[in-house]
Point group: C2
Chain length 224, copies 2
DNA sequence: GGCGTCAAGATTGTGTACAATATTTGCACT
DNA sequence: AGTGCAAATATTGTACACAATCTTGACGCC
């Protein structure tokens, strides 16, 4: 209905849905189906799906279709190892460049995140939590690194959907608050350490043992 | 001619051409032209171009076409800052996991790189030089980081095309040799330091002052 | 009844025609 | 001659038709 959205719009909407866990790993995204939802032809849908594939959210299998990626345990570890390489130093750089406007924006982010948690909207809280990390990269004025972190945050959403231990609470709000304090004081060293610890915390809350659930296909699950 | 190549094949060929400086920043890649060269329809070409866009090699302007990206000075710095975050630690990890087969492969790489330099094939030498860095990420068994480094190496080729000081020699072969030695001895610490220094060396050989040459369009070059 | 083969259906892959838009060229007018 | 507008050209954006491939269900055979 109304104006036909562009491929970028569709890609954004789908990405946001993944961030909010409204779209879960393994789900199939049929071209016709997505096209009907957004009132566009398959050509535009295919562009959007390819975009999401390149950012690692979809796995497109030839003549089979596009499926939301199901990161293996190894990939899950790799995502957080990559984040551990990029984000702490980026947080340090952000602490040195952060402006009062940035601080205010991050404060609003945290408030909204808390509000979402109180409203039991875990998906929205998760999305906002990811945006917090992306904002830090933006503040550091490192567009290239920011693009990488965007990808990693997106893929982290998939990892969390698959491997998160406790569904009830996401008790990481304290970490973001502490980071914000360090940024406010332009304490780069502290920001770097906090980010490093925060990421380690996140990984420690995942269950990254080799589950059966991660079998990519039924064939492998039942093979012996 | 003969068998029609897939979109991935075309993307690889174009990427390789960029690595070898056969395709230079600013060049326009017309869909029809590329399609005729590879004997495929525009549909497949567009897929390949989108892929290259997502890896940062092309900038696609709506209703204008696809142009090989011309990184600004800022982007050039960002690329090497990102590499400085990712590659040293990755080299350390590689030193801990490297196998004799990997060592042999890297040795061949270096030999070929020297041969290319002797044969005055600067483009081929540059491509092999980039592959050396990618191989190290592969050896580290970090597929996610490897994908990022691939992007960064590609974009580095564009940066070098635009900002390299001396066209004659690429006197970095020593650095790769030293890195290989560290890997052979499983000396992670040394490998990390060498990689860090190597990347700093590379940046120092660039002319990243704000030249006029970086004007994206004639319009800007002559605007006053 | 179990199993293999094959046909029907559905979904994606690709080429192409047409529409939309940008660029260039020519022309009229000042 | 210079400038502004308009038509012509060329290139990309989108939709659609057809081909290729996979999945599913049915039928016949053992």
């Amino acid at each position: 209905m109304s104006a036909p959205p562009s491929a970028e719009t569709i890609a954004s909407e789908l990405t946001e849905a993944v961030h909010e866990h409204r779209i879960l790993p393994g789900m199939k995204l049929s071209e016709d189906e997505v096209g009907e939802i957004f009132n566009v032809g398959r050509t535009v849908v295919r562009q959007a799906l390819r975009t999401l594939q390149h950012s690692g959210l979809l796995s497109i299998e030839r003549n089979r279709g596009a499926f939301v990626a199901k990161p293996t345990v190894k990939e899950a570890r790799e995502v957080f190892e990559a984040r551990a390489l990029l984000e702490p130093r980026t947080a340090r750089a952000a602490a040195e460049r952060v402006t009062p406007e940035d601080i205010a924006l991050l404060e609003r982010h945290i408030v909204e995140e808390h509000a979402a948690l109180d409203a039991e909207e875990a998906g929205r809280a998760l999305k906002l939590s990811g945006l917090f990390h992306i904002e830090i990269a933006r503040i550091a004025d490192q567009a290239t690194v920011e693009a990488f972190i965007r990808q990693l945050v997106s893929r982290s959403s998939l990892v969390i959907a698959l491997y998160w231990r406790r569904r009830n609470a996401m008790c990481e709000s304290h970490a973001h608050h502490a980071l914000l304090d360090a940024l406010r004081r332009h304490d780069g060293e502290m920001a770097e350490d906090l980010m490093k610890g925060h990421l380690l915390d996140l990984v420690s809350q995942l269950d990254l043992r080799e589950h059966p659930a991660q079998a990519p296909s039924l064939r492998e699950a039942l093979a012996r």
